[in-house]
Each structure stands twice: as C-alpha cells, then as structure tokens.
Amino acid sequence: MNELSSSASTPTIQCEQLSHSFPMAGERFQVLKGIDLTVMPGEMVAIIGPSGSGKSTLMNLIGCLMTPEQGELKILGKSTSGLTKAQLADVRRDHIGFVFQQFNLLARTSALDNVKMPLMYHDEPIKDADERARACLESVGLGDRLHNHPSQLSGGQQQRVAIARALINRPDILLADEPTGALDTHTSGEIMALFRKLNNAGHTVVLVTHEMEVAEQADRIVMVRDGCLLQDSSQHLEGAK
C-alpha cells in the first residue's frame, strides 16, 4: 500500500500464462492451464470456482509459496522467476499477507504474540513490535483481546487475529484462501465487511471462495474452471467505478 501513490500504474500482481500440474496416478494432472491475471493496486478481487478447480494452487503461486512450472509471476512489476527459497521468503515477508481458512494461530499463545510472530523474521530486530501488533489488532476490532489465547476466542475473532497477523508486515497484497470457509454465515459476513473496510483503507485484497454471496462483496470476480480463467467481471465493474 505504500507504493500506491508512487507506482499506481504498476500492477501489484501480474500473472502471465501460469501453468502448473501435479503428478497423479503416474501421469501429470494439469491443474492450471495458462492463467493471465492482473491485479492493480487498491483492487479487491474474488476468485471463485468449484472445488478442485485450482483456486488454491493459483493463490499459492501468487503468494510465492510455490513456483509455477510455466509462465511468469510479477509482484509490483518484479519477476519472481528463478528466485531461491530464501529470496521467495523475503518476497512473502515484504509484500504478502496470508489469511487461511483454518486460521493457523499458534495455540497457547496470546493474540498479541500471534500477531507479533512474523516480525521475528526480519533481519533487523523490530523495536516497536508490541505497538505495531496492538495497532493491527485494534484495526480488526480486537483492541480488548490482546492477551487472550486462541482457545478463548470465537472463530470469527480468531480469523480477525489471523488478519491482524497478515497486516503486521504492512503487505502490498492480502491473500485470503476461503477465509470464511470455517465460519457461519453471520460471522462470515462480518469478516467480509472487515476485508471491505481494509480495501477501502487502501489494501489490495485477493480472496478465494466458492460462495457467490461472498464473492459479490468484491469489486471484481474472477472464475476459475478446469484450470482456465473463465470469466472476469472487471470490464463491467470498471465502468461502474
């Protein structure tokens, strides 16, 4: 988000002909077949598609958790091809915030410490770690739950902690893979409202869902089916914007 003003014209995410396959029963199962996707700064994009269509694989590629077999991914205009594991880790730390379906909070660890955790992987120690973590928790509405452990929080609150954790490194992109998948309808509405709010505050958000009501909260919906991008609603929405 820091780069918003300076490089408004540089896409935050640029996928060019991304392809990926997995070994399956002795053959290779082609999950993604040449995906082209561009996300501009400040956008909120929902990726939808049936289960097993390759949404998570696409998210993992965008999040630099894995490297594509073919095609190229650019983050803030910079290619990620040929980066080492350690360099990819730096890209994740400096540009990407992850939110998972299963929250993935550290058990028996306070909300504050959970949110602080990513800061320990910076080369220089972060001095104001506590203040930063507190600010992030306040921004997701958990300013009064700093010292609660995950087991003392509801599902929705746990996901808020996870979102605060994703924000702690001031990422350029928030990636959320089925962030409401483990939540009831009401809570999932609240979480989507939070993403909406974060997007309004300038965060670029990409989220995966298989529920249309959830996807409709985004200003752009992308559908994945059989490894291809079927439909991109950006054209319609661009006019409305």
């Binding site: 958790l65 894995m66 350690a86 730390r93 400096d94 992850f98 993935n104 120690p125 490194n169």
Partner: protein, 407 residues
C-alpha cells in the same frame, strides 16, 4: 534473542517431556563430573600423602629367594638384621636415616581397659625415617634398644582408648601381651594412611623388646627385622642409593649372582603409581558416563523429531510469513541446544549436591574440576547441535504448502 525466548517457551509447554528427554543428559553430566571429582580427589590425597611422607623414602624388604624367575621353597627367606641398617647408614653417606622394624599385633591392657592394636619394634632411626614426632615425654634411646628396655611409645588412638585423657598416659605402665611396659612418650597424630588405616592406632617399642618379649618366638634372632625405611638426602640420589643398598645387602647376606633376595622400592613412586591407576580407572568410568551423554543426545534427537512432526503446520505458517529455511533451522537447533543445556544445568546441580554430600557428609576426598565442568557443558551444547541438526534440517526443508496442509 527472541529465538532463544521462543525455544524456552516451547520447551516449557512440554515440561515433563523435556525433563524426561534430558534425563540421559542429566545422568551423563552428573556422572562425568562426580567421577572426575572422585579421581581428582584421590589424586590430591596421594599428593598430600607423598608430601607428608617426604619424597625421599625407600622401602626395603626381604623377599623369598628367586632364582631365574622360580620361587624358592617357603621359608627360604633372607633375614634383614638391625646391623644391616647400621651398615647402610655407615657406608652410604647419602642416607639420612635407616628405620628398621618388625610388625605385629598385641593386646594392650590398662586397668580394666583393653585394646587390640598394631605394634612396631624398631630401632631409634625409625622415628626419624617415618617422620614420627614425640609430643609428650621422650623417645627411647640406643641403649634401651640394646638392652631391650621395657618402654613403649603410644599412638594417639591407643592413648585415647585406654586413658580418659591422653595427657595422663606418659609415665603409666600398660601390659602389652601381658608384658608390663612403661609409656615414655606420646606419638603425634598422623591420621589415616592411603588405604584409610588409622596410623595412630599403634605402639612403638625398642626392636629387642618386641622381638624378645612381645611378638618374639623363642629361639628367634632378636635383632631380626622384616622391613627397613630408608630416608635419602636428595631425590636425585634415590636411584643410586637403592642400587648401592641392594648390592650391599646381597654382599652382606652372600646372595648368589642372579638371585633376588631383597626388594627396594621407592615409596612415593609406588604411591603415585597407585594414584595413576586410580585416575585411569575413574577416567574410564567417566568415559562410560560420557557414553550416557551420547545416549542422551539420541533421546534429544528423537524428541526433536517428534516436535518437528507435531509442529509441521506451525513451520508452514512461519515459512508463509517469511521465515527463511535458515531461520527455521536455527530455531530448532537453538531449541535442541537449550534442551541439552537445561539438562546440563540440572546435571551440574545434581553433581554439585552429590559431591558436597560425599565430601562433607561422608568425608570422601573430592576435587571438583572447573575445566571438566566447562568441558562437559560445552560438550553437551555440541551434542545438542550434533543431534539436533537432522531434525532441524528436516524442518527447514519442509515444503510450506504441504506443511500448512498437514493434519
């Protein structure tokens, strides 16, 4: 720093498991330290003993005659004589004193008190050679040795057993194997010897008195002695004196060439040989204890592998938020080193307590070596690195996606 903190937190979560895991390390460390403390303690005791003995003592004994390796019939033993002692002192100017003596056991009675003790019948020089001080009264004289006077010197232990106050002993008459002997002097306390025998549980009397009346058998040469303690002026002369002495004794007793009739041994050399053997033995035991350290290391590796598996999702998460493989490796290495060091500290504590107990509670001689303590702690840290490496490497090499998916 924060990594160290994280490691401590994660170990505290599994307190019981951590302690059980480090049991091997705890036992290993304390065994190593205790063994070395015992070995060092024994060594120091010997060194002190040698110091108190004076370094320049030779021990002469008559041996069964030995011809070309074959032992002669029993009884075929050469006899040392008090005149041998005189001859040695006369002929070898390097010799300061020659104590010649016989040993035996006797029942000593005073009033209605009685006590069983060791006795020595000796020449006058023995008191010098064996470093005895007469703290009350006087020593016996040459003429008393010649005449077989009925006098005796009493060791502190015997004096305490027979008299309410050892200060009253001198001047009293005791019956030693029914022979009345007058106590003319009290011997200064020497304490325990190498084997833990009380050296003050003793009576010393003129050789002839002992031979004729107390331990003598009828018809025996009253000038006969079984051993001699020879004090030499300088350590450098020890070898020369022992060779000359053996030559002189062989000549005086007409021992045929090639036969061994007397043994001459360097007392301090004997003591240090024994100390050396002690040390080797306790080092060996410490080595065995070190093996238990290794076994402890394997336990640590095992538990670290379990920990990596249990925390697979956590590892995936850490990688997703930007932890490099190296950071994950470091985290688990630190954890295993911390685990080992916690074990080392507990082991250190236990060994300090045990050594304290042995030293002050049981009166054993122990010497803690800071070097050994340092080596074993550093060694344990290395074990932590060595055995922690494989689990840590395994963790750092996980694929983040698969790790995050792990159930």
């Amino acid at each position: 720093m924060s990594q160290l903190f994280t490691a401590l937190i994660s170990l505290r979560r599994n307190m019981m498991r951590s302690i059980l895991t480090t049991l091997g390390i705890i036992i290993g460390i304390s065994a190593v330290i205790i063994m070395f403390a015992l070995g060092e303690g024994a060594q120091r005791e010997v060194e002190e003993k040698i110091k108190s003995l004076g370094t320049n003592l030779l021990m002469v004994r008559a041996e069964a005659i030995n011809t070309a390796g074959a032992r002669g019939a029993s009884g075929n033993v050469n006899r040392l004589n008090i005149s041998d002692a005189d001859a040695i002192k006369r002929d070898l100017s390097e010799v300061v004193a020659v104590g010649a003596y016989n040993r035996g056991q006797a029942q000593v009675v005073y009033g209605n008190q009685n006590w069983n003790t060791g006795i020595q019948g000796a020449n006058v020089d023995l008191l010098t050679a064996s470093n005895w001080q007469v703290t009350d009264g006087r020593a016996y004289s040459e003429s008393e040795v010649r005449s077989g006077a009925k006098v005796v010197l009493i060791g502190e232990t015997v004096a305490k057993e027979l008299f309410d106050d050892p200060a009253f002993a001198v001047g009293e008459t005791v019956r030693v194997n029914k022979i009345p002997l007058k106590i003319i002097g009290l011997l200064g306390a020497k304490g325990e010897d190498m084997r833990g025998f009380d050296q003050d549980d003793i009576l010393i009397m003129p050789l002839t008195t002992a031979n004729r009346r107390v331990i003598g058998k009828s018809g025996r040469d009253i000038n006969r002695v079984s051993r001699m303690v020879v004090a030499v002026d300088e350590e450098n002369n020890m070898t020369y004196v022992s060779e000359e002495m053996e030559r002189l004794l062989n000549q005086r007793h007409r021992v045929a060439a090639g036969q061994t009739a007397f043994s001459v041994r360097n007392l301090s050399a004997m003591l240090s040989t024994r100390a050396e053997a002690n040390k080797v033995f306790s080092s060996l035991l410490a080595g065995v204890a070190g093996v238990s350290l290794l076994v402890g290391g394997i336990g640590v590796m095992n538990i670290m592998l379990v920990s990596v598996t249990e925390r697979t999702r956590e590892i995936g998460l850490r990688m997703a938020v930007g932890a490099k493989p190296r950071a994950i490796l470091a985290q688990f290495l630190i954890e295993s080193v911390v685990l080992c060091l916690v074990g080392a500290m507990l082991g250190l504590l236990i060994s300090l307590l045990a050594v304290g107990l042995m030293q002050f509670g049981m009166g054993w001689s122990m010497a803690l070596s800071p070097v050994i303590m340092l080596i074993s702690v550093v060694g344990t840290a290395l074990i932590g690195v060595g055995f922690g490496f494989y689990p840590a490497y395994k963790a750092s090499n996980l694929d983040p996606i698969e790790a995050l998916r792990f159930e």
